[in-house]
Symmetry: D2
Subunit: 290 residues, 4 copies
């Protein structure tokens, strides 16, 4: 939980979201009982009043606009289900899922910020100075996935990972293995040859025809820049008027929302992999479940 | 169905898949009865014998390897559920879904082949000459989607479209709106400003926080090169020996599997959108369903 | 399939439903491949023309009325999805499920016809002479179910068996163990005491709190009399007129639809139990599934 | 909530379950926001210590035995998910569902206790004196259900109601319309004739072929006697020894658990009916949902 929490580096929002997880059910005397494990994360720092300023502003790039269109109600307090806070329960659930992964290892990290693949600190400082934000790319590698996980049509490994990842706020895409680069390659180059029972390359990203091959599962995710910036932007009032909105100078938000996302990516990946282990009745659970 | 079918251009496989669709149930005297509509597409041209040559070859880049690992059985006849033929039922089902879309318009097309954004014919001819294959990018644009479709957490619009698209053979990724480019942008640049009730740009690709905004939904999909090539490639026999396999010279396969895919992309998009219209109880159905 | 088929005793309808099952997919060289097994049962004897007589008659006690109200379309040919023929696919699917049950044994039989618990032949002959029909009770006993199958809230063993059984045509209820008699009993009488690790009685019917106890699972199902009788009955035309309808004298139908139902009950029970074995990751599958 | 709560009549348990419902999400300024409505009912009176006496006793007729077999863990505190308290959330959720029913009216009541159809007070007093318990029958009538609700095969109206009702603790069966009596009737008697567009009887209980007819939906449910009685009963210790257990004399439990169940039955019925209204895209929601 600590990795997701804002306020833990100079580049993340200083709001104090303590993210303290209480276990309301499912654990007794230190063991899971078989009952659903309910995790409860109260929002201790949330002050609806701090949102008064934006009570009638459709914030550019946020979900306010689409939520208003959908529900006909404008709940100006924080982002609700569109808030980055919603991801805290995913991280908590992912932590439980990780207990069931055995030697399957999931690692996600930011590999590119604003187009730069190294020395992110400089670009982040610059963006903060300008009151702006910046996008990034996260790469996730999953090692030791047994070959044979995934189903042929309806529950393909790439499909379910894609659904999970595209449900993370600000994530705007996904590519597996060579991904978009594969579109520029020849088949003879992209095909992963085998020798002595081993793959000689991993352009396929650990998945063929929706089913894991035993190679590392590799995917990359583009994250858009944080929508909240200090520059004035043209937008609408809830009443439909054209306005220009600039947030107060003392407000602070993450200049790069992706910095907090690796732990969320790992959590979602853990949930998908555990789901497949269960779905495919995989022996990793023999000692754990009935 | 004609658009998906191979043998309809010099760049698609000459196998005669007639793809004749029979309606087995659900329609009586020209109207749907409310019963499930069963579409049946017999494979008239399929000859298992033509696969004898590859009875013991794990074909590079195909699902054979992962299927063998999963099921412990090697069904060498065609690709089964991993075959491009599986997509014919998707196209047929999509055709039914399209009847329910009203003025929602879905158009997919190949926009890039082997890294080229125009004059694809030259590169395709070159690839065929070399007995090789090439990847491509398909772009899909959906117009007139009402604002408010999609659900906040579990059934987000991007998530469900991503799951649908990543279930298509050879598709290795997806990006919405600015997609991977968004990772290189500043927030002030990426945010879509509004004026007089209109968006001034569409970097968000028609979806904010999982819910449609009413703008065009735009996404792009990289397709890997066709795995079957005429060049010799190192692989395994089903018995585990290292071998080199070159297919017979007279075999022919698509040099670019993506050329047949736009109609499949459209079909899957139609199914996802209809699913959301139903899920969100949208009025487009008032006259159609009880 | 033979047990379900009509025309196999003097008390079942003489229509020739050959119920020949073709396996369209999922089996290759005598083994399941992991692909879905598609079973196809063409209706060889069906003659829509024989239904001309009832083209505008809402048949009393049939689904015609509710289907017309639901779909606004009157498909007078046979019963469609409300027909007893629909159950043939259940029997076929149940036959596959039974392969996975190991030593779990499911037996259903008619235990009461028209209120009589023995000598059913006399009452059936009388009913046929009168051109009438009669109801019955089927009892099902499932032996060797391992203790611990079933889930506490959403997928309780009784709940899922009840849903499966109440989906069978003409079945109008279900009771487990002592069932309706339990409503007349004292707790001290109904409680199943235990001695030396064994239950001394089985009023609970093999299920406590939604979860199997290892005792025989026992339930009983009332079936209503066949709706089609030769006596004139007051009803509606599809146009809304009050009419009296008597079927032609030479038409023949089952006088007691329950006589054919035990095999359907067994099939549905097999499907539910297999579903729970999978859901609870039960070891009976270790050798069968990945 | 008041109707379900124990301690509100001399015949229900005096435990103080305040059942105070807090709304944790989904409502803002008195209106639903579209977000899931989270209802939270803390258990204020629960004292695990009061269960010390039964720490090693498998209580006859309870879920302890099957839970122990399933999970291998003995959580002696109260009944957990097998407790009658679990139903409080169903009642709360049902209360929300009832807001969406329009003029559909659901009424459940106890119609028989210990085989008596009137003057229940005498039998209940006798049972309490004896330290015993007694079973009962609840009847539920749903008026004004539009014709056409329910699906032909997988989501039949009886099937889904049966699953919902059989998931209620202590409910051991269900019958629709004439139910078990139908098994004793002739078809000519059981068929509901129509005249002037009206049904002349309702043996079918408002449902034909899984779909509502517009008549009252009528079903009856047998409830077993409360398992907890003050008489000594033979059972097992968790260690597997044969023991005889008699609860302390001052313990009190409901002599007839069915007395509190009508409100639970109504809640579950409301949830099923709302589910069908949504599934069938029924116009009752036009003003409520998008």
């Amino acid at each position: 939980m600590k990795r997701r929490r804002p306020g833990s580096s100079p580049f993340t929002s200083p709001r104090k979201e303590k993210d303290h997880v209480e276990i309301l059910s499912g654990v007794f005397e230190g063991k899971s009982t078989g009952a659903p494990i309910t995790l409860w994360i109260p929002n201790l720092d949330h002050q609806s009043s701090s949102y008064d300023e934006v009570k009638e502003v459709i914030r550019v790039g946020h979900g306010n606009y689409s939520y208003l269109k959908k529900y006909g109600i404008f709940d100006y307090r924080g982002g609700g289900r569109a808030s980055a806070r919603e991801t805290s329960v995913r991280v908590a659930a992912g932590a439980v899922a990780k207990q069931l992964l055995g030697d399957i290892d999931i690692q996600a990290q930011v590999v590119e910020v604003g187009g730069e693949t190294s020395n992110f600190k400089a670009i982040l400082e610059k963006v903060m100075e300008e009151g702006d934000s910046v996008g990034a790319i996260i790469e996730c590698i999953i090692k030791n996935v047994p070959a044979g996980l995934g189903d042929p049509i309806y529950e393909k490994m790439e499909a379910n990972l894609a659904k999970a990842m595209l449900s993370i706020n600000a994530c705007k895409g996904i590519e597996f293995g060579s991904g978009f680069s594969a579109s520029k390659m020849r088949g003879s180059e992209h095909n992963d040859e085998m020798e002595d029972g081993e793959f000689l390359s991993n352009h396929h990203g650990g998945i063929l025809a929706g089913i894991s091959t035993g190679e590392d599962i590799v995917f990359r995710l583009p994250f858009k820049p944080t929508s909240s910036v200090k520059k004035p932007m043209k937008t609408l009032s809830t009443g439909g008027r054209s306005i220009t909105y600039s947030p107060k100078l003392n407000t602070r938000h993450d200049p790069c929302v992706a910095l907090r996302a690796p732990v969320i990516v790992e959590a979602m990946a853990a949930l998908v992999i555990v789901d497949f282990l269960l779905l495919n009745n995989c022996s990793k659970f023999e000692k754990i479940l009935l």
